[in-house]
């Protein structure tokens, strides 16, 4: 799939070592994509709110689980290095079942794009734009994403690199301000493991494991674009571990600043946290800046889901011009992001109780494991047959 307008510039491009017709994303770009993708909604809503002051432990355990899930994806990818999941599902499960699975993945990606867009729309409406409709906020976002979508995935990965630098710089400044303002109260983190391990495991599975780590299922759609296929696994691990550590750190700081009870009740803990910063009555109300940074995360995450749905559809239906699907898919995403739930509470209820169990677990863990098992058995069988011959 190629979403880049070439304008007859292919020939010159070879001189710079990159080939224009194929999407190639560098290793660092791949890392920044994964990193920003992982932070997405997890930073917005805060992980493991239900375990109060121990919220950082599920994040840490989730990281390990994420590495395991990621290993499954890379193993599948190594079996079919040039194909996305919608294609190799056909090879593994046969034409009809495989196509059905591929189609289900497309719908799943669209649904997730819709959900993430709604999450960030709600965040903006609740925290800043009280009198603006969800549709307006969403339209601005989807219009931007469509523009970048027409530019292609390669361009997006370069943008993500710059956004990663901007994000890191902002987060560092905000952390420095929090230290300078003496907001961090480590006592808030005690007592550790107040109610034992059981609530923590309940929090890890399915919530913390699936969002954000299991959502890495999307990488199966663009693994093949990465320049330097051999290092995919290591870069992925690095991104997962670093983002996991960052989420752990974020939870720790968050709890230490606003306390477990406020955090439990707060809709967007990070905004509550940053809103406390007040240095010399001059640097205050940093939440607007944090919202701007959160928009980066939302943009990256919606883009990736949207792109994966698009790329899956063009792959499944063998489309020659996938650009034609950008508008219909964008329309679907923006309309459903408004009608998906009547209000924010209902949206959250679906998001925390139903989606992880009935959607995330089958799509992120169940189907990939099944695919891997069938593929391995098939390979073993064909090898046995070869030996027989």
């Amino acid at each position: 799939m190629n979403l880049i307008p070439t304008n007859g510039r292919n020939e010159i491009h070879e001189s710079t070592g990159e080939i224009m017709n194929e999407i190639k994303i560098g290793r660092f770009q791949f890392f920044t994509l994964l990193f920003l993708f992982e932070l997405g909604s997890a930073v917005l809503f805060g992980m493991g709110k239900d375990v109060k002051q121990d919220a950082w432990i599920p994040a840490l355990i989730g990281t390990l689980g994420g590495c395991l899930i990621y290993t499954v994806y890379t193993m599948l990818h190594n079996l079919y290095p040039d194909l996305p999941i919608t294609s190799y599902s056909k090879k593994i499960l046969g034409k009809y079942i495989g196509s059905a699975v591929g189609f289900a993945y497309i719908v799943y990606f669209i649904y997730l794009a819709t959900r993430v867009l709604r999450d960030f729309d709600e965040m903006l409406v609740i925290s800043q734009y009280h009198n603006t409709s969800l549709l307006t906020i969403g339209l601005y976002m989807i219009a931007t994403i469509m523009y970048v979508m027409f530019k292609g995935f390669e361009v997006f990965s370069r943008v993500s690199l710059i956004l990663f630098l901007v994000h890191t710089a902002t987060i560092t400044v905000i952390f420095a301000l929090e230290i300078a303002d003496n907001l961090i109260i480590p006592v808030n983190l005690l007592p550790v493991l107040e109610k034992g391990w059981i609530p923590i495991f309940k929090s890890v599975f399915p919530a913390s494991l699936t969002v954000p780590f299991g959502e890495l299922i999307v990488v199966t759609m663009f693994f093949r674009f990465v320049n330097g296929q051999s290092s995919i696994r290591n870069i992925g691990f690095m991104a997962i571990i670093l983002s996991g550590l960052y989420l752990t750190f974020r939870s720790l700081i968050n709890i230490a600043i606003i306390g477990p009870d406020v955090r439990f009740r707060s809709t967007f803990p990070i905004i509550s946290e940053v809103g406390l910063i007040n240095i010399a009555n001059f640097i205050q109300r940093m939440d607007s800046f944090v919202i701007a940074v959160l928009v980066i995360l939302g943009f990256v995450k919606v883009y990736i889901f949207y792109y994966c749905a698009l790329s899956g559809a063009s792959d499944l239906f063998k489309l020659k011009k996938p650009e034609k699907l950008i508008f219909p898919f964008g329309f679907i995403i923006i309309i459903f992001s408004v009608f998906i739930a009547p209000n924010f509470n209902f949206h959250m209820k679906i998001g925390f109780n139903i989606v992880p169990l009935y959607l995330h677990i089958p799509f992120q863990i169940g189907i990939p494991l099944l695919l891997l098992a069938v593929a391995l058995i098939k390979i073993k069988r064909s090898r046995l047959r070869q030996q027989d011959c």
């Binding site: 001189s15 710079t16 560098g26 734009y129 601005y140 292609g152 943008v159 919202i291």
Partner: protein, 544 residues
């Protein structure tokens, strides 16, 4: 009287009708393929039209071809009256060097004897007396009318001899050119003070003088169907990437236009993205900038008639690198470069952020400042976006007026602009003082760009950001930024990603992006250079 007028009208009408009919005929003729090919073959005959053996006919031929203009100058020298041996020297007045023609062409020709001339004419294989006598640095010989006329129009002198078909052209071109002056738009405090002129040869000589190396190559193409403008491509063989050069040659070859008045004509033909706001080709009037870019493996394009030389492939970051960064101390270079990025940010975002914060995010402003801002806006009848837009447009008008206005009335702009539009408008309560401050800050920031054309992008995109900020605040500005970034990341300059050392990230090129390391640490050439010649002559090599 009346009948006379009628007759005149009638004849006029008939004449017009006739010309109309002729016009239609010619149209038809152009449509019909047969006549077309016939006219084509006639054109071809014109192309190879040669001179006769008669001097007077030849002079008349040249005069007719040029339409007998007043600036043609014919000097005849009679060698022998009986045999009718005459020599004529033809030149275009104002294009050629009078003194040189007098001393090196006409004076020796007057000393020519009949015997010498006859000997040469009768026996073409004998030694060429004419070329011995005429002491100009280049003498060529043509028999085709077109070539002679073209050469004549370039300022060369034609030497015609009776009984001979061959026309000698003596290189005597000399135009009145502006002398080398200080650069007007790209000035520095420390550094070379010369700049390019309108004359192409002067410009290339400025570079040749700085790079005395056999690998400095110069290639010429002649473009413009009507103007026949000289365009020259310069590069250093070995350092420049051969595939980029062949692409440039291909694009230069593809130019089809009536005339080329400035290098921007060439730029618009050869750049990658024609509809981008951001310039993808650098244009400079400083020879030292051209030299440094040639050394980085880039190419330069000289166009006759303009002091602005094109450089490509250009990266976004280059538009922030002034020549002065390298001539001052590295700390100052780094500081000023970062300052320039901040200024670009201000030029692009300041009005948008101001309007966004004042409209949507009051909470971001510290209370005391908010109170003072609100106090200023008390009594201002317009919404802040209208105020911002109007002030921005007023400023653009003032700026344009400042450039176009005759020098003699130059003072008026500053008086009208500063006093009436600024102070009086604030005092009258039409605009708030803070808006005026933000707009003027933006304007000043826009002038810090070392290359004028990148400031244009900021100037225009500012309105886009301003509207987004007014509609939906910081969120909108953020999304606008994503769009601009995506655009910057998507365009290329001769195949090199425009945003290169940042995204895609190149660690070894960061020495000259935000930070300017001392020159001895610039070991490698940036990515437009020939991939096999990445290493510069650097400290590491010297130590070995």
């Amino acid at each position: 009287m009346c009948s006379e007028k009628k007759l005149e009208l009638l004849t006029n009408f008939l004449r017009e009708a006739g010309s109309l009919a002729q016009f239609f005929k010619s149209r038809k003729g152009k449509q019909g393929s047969q006549t077309d090919s016939a006219s084509n073959s006639k054109d071809k005959q014109d192309d190879v039209q040669t001179f006769t053996f008669n001097l007077e006919t030849n002079i008349q031929l040249i005069k007719d071809t040029l339409g007998n203009p007043p600036d043609i100058n014919v000097r005849k020298i009679e060698i022998d009256k009986e045999q009718n041996y005459t020599i004529a020297v033809i030149r275009m007045d104002g294009m050629s060097d009078k003194m040189e023609i007098n001393s090196s062409v006409i004076e020796p020709l007057t000393k020519l004897t009949f015997e010498q001339l006859r000997k040469q004419l009768e026996n073409p294989n004998s030694s060429n007396t004419l070329s011995k006598l005429i002491s100009v640095n280049k003498l060529s010989c043509y028999t085709e009318v077109n070539k002679v006329v073209h050469s004549l129009l370039q300022g060369n002198a034609a030497i015609l001899v009776n009984h001979s078909q061959e026309i000698y052209m003596a290189a005597t071109r000399m135009l009145k050119v502006r002398s080398i002056t200080e650069p007007t738009s790209q000035t520095v405090i420390r550094g070379p003070k010369d700049s390019f002129t309108e004359d192409l040869r002067t410009n290339t000589s400025l570079i040749r003088a700085r790079i005395t190396n056999k690998d400095l190559k110069l290639e010429m193409v002649n473009k413009g169907e009507v103007t026949h403008t000289d365009i020259e491509l310069m590069y250093i063989k070995g350092i420049a990437d051969e595939s980029i050069l062949s692409e440039v040659r291909r694009r230069l070859e593809k130019i089809k236009v009536d005339g080329i008045l400035e290098s921007s004509y060439v730029e618009e033909f050869i750049q990658d993205s024609r509809f981008s706001l951001f310039p993808t080709i650098l244009s400079t009037e400083r020879p030292d900038v051209v030299v440094s870019n040639l050394l980085e493996g880039r190419f330069a394009i000289f166009v006759y008639g303009t002091p602005y030389v094109l450089i490509g492939p250009a990266a976004f970051i280059q538009f922030f690198q002034s020549a002065e960064d390298y001539y001052q101390n590295q700390y100052m270079g780094t500081f000023i470069r970062i300052l320039r990025f901040i200024a670009f940010f201000i030029a692009l975002y300041a009005p948008g952020l101001y309007v966004a914060i004042m409209t949507h995010h009051h909470g971001l402003i510290p209370t005391t400042l908010l109170v003072s801002l609100a106090g200023q806006r008390e009594g201002v009848p317009f919404p802040i976006i209208i105020e911002g837009l109007v002030m921005e447009i007023v400023f653009e008008v003032l700026r344009e007026a400042g450039i176009r206005m005759p020098r003699a009335v130059g003072q008026t702009v500053s008086i009208v602009g500063a006093l009436i539009l600024g102070q009086a408008a604030v005092e009258a309560g039409f605009v708030s003082a803070s808006t005026v401050i933000v707009v003027s800050l933006t304007a000043i920031a826009n002038f810090t760009m070392p290359f004028f054309n990148v400031a244009i992008a900021a100037r225009l995109l500012r309105f886009f950001i301003l509207l987004l900020g007014s509609f939906i605040g910081l969120y909108g500005i953020m999304l606008g930024t994503f769009m601009i970034l995506a655009h910057l990341c998507s365009i290329r300059s001769f195949g090199i990603p425009y945003f290169e050392p940042i995204a895609p990230f190149r660690l070894n090129e960061q020495k000259d992006v935000f930070v300017r390391l001392p020159i001895p640490y610039h070991f490698s050439r940036p990515s437009p250079a020939n991939p096999e010649q990445k290493k510069r002559a650097g400290r590491k090599q010297n130590e070995k």
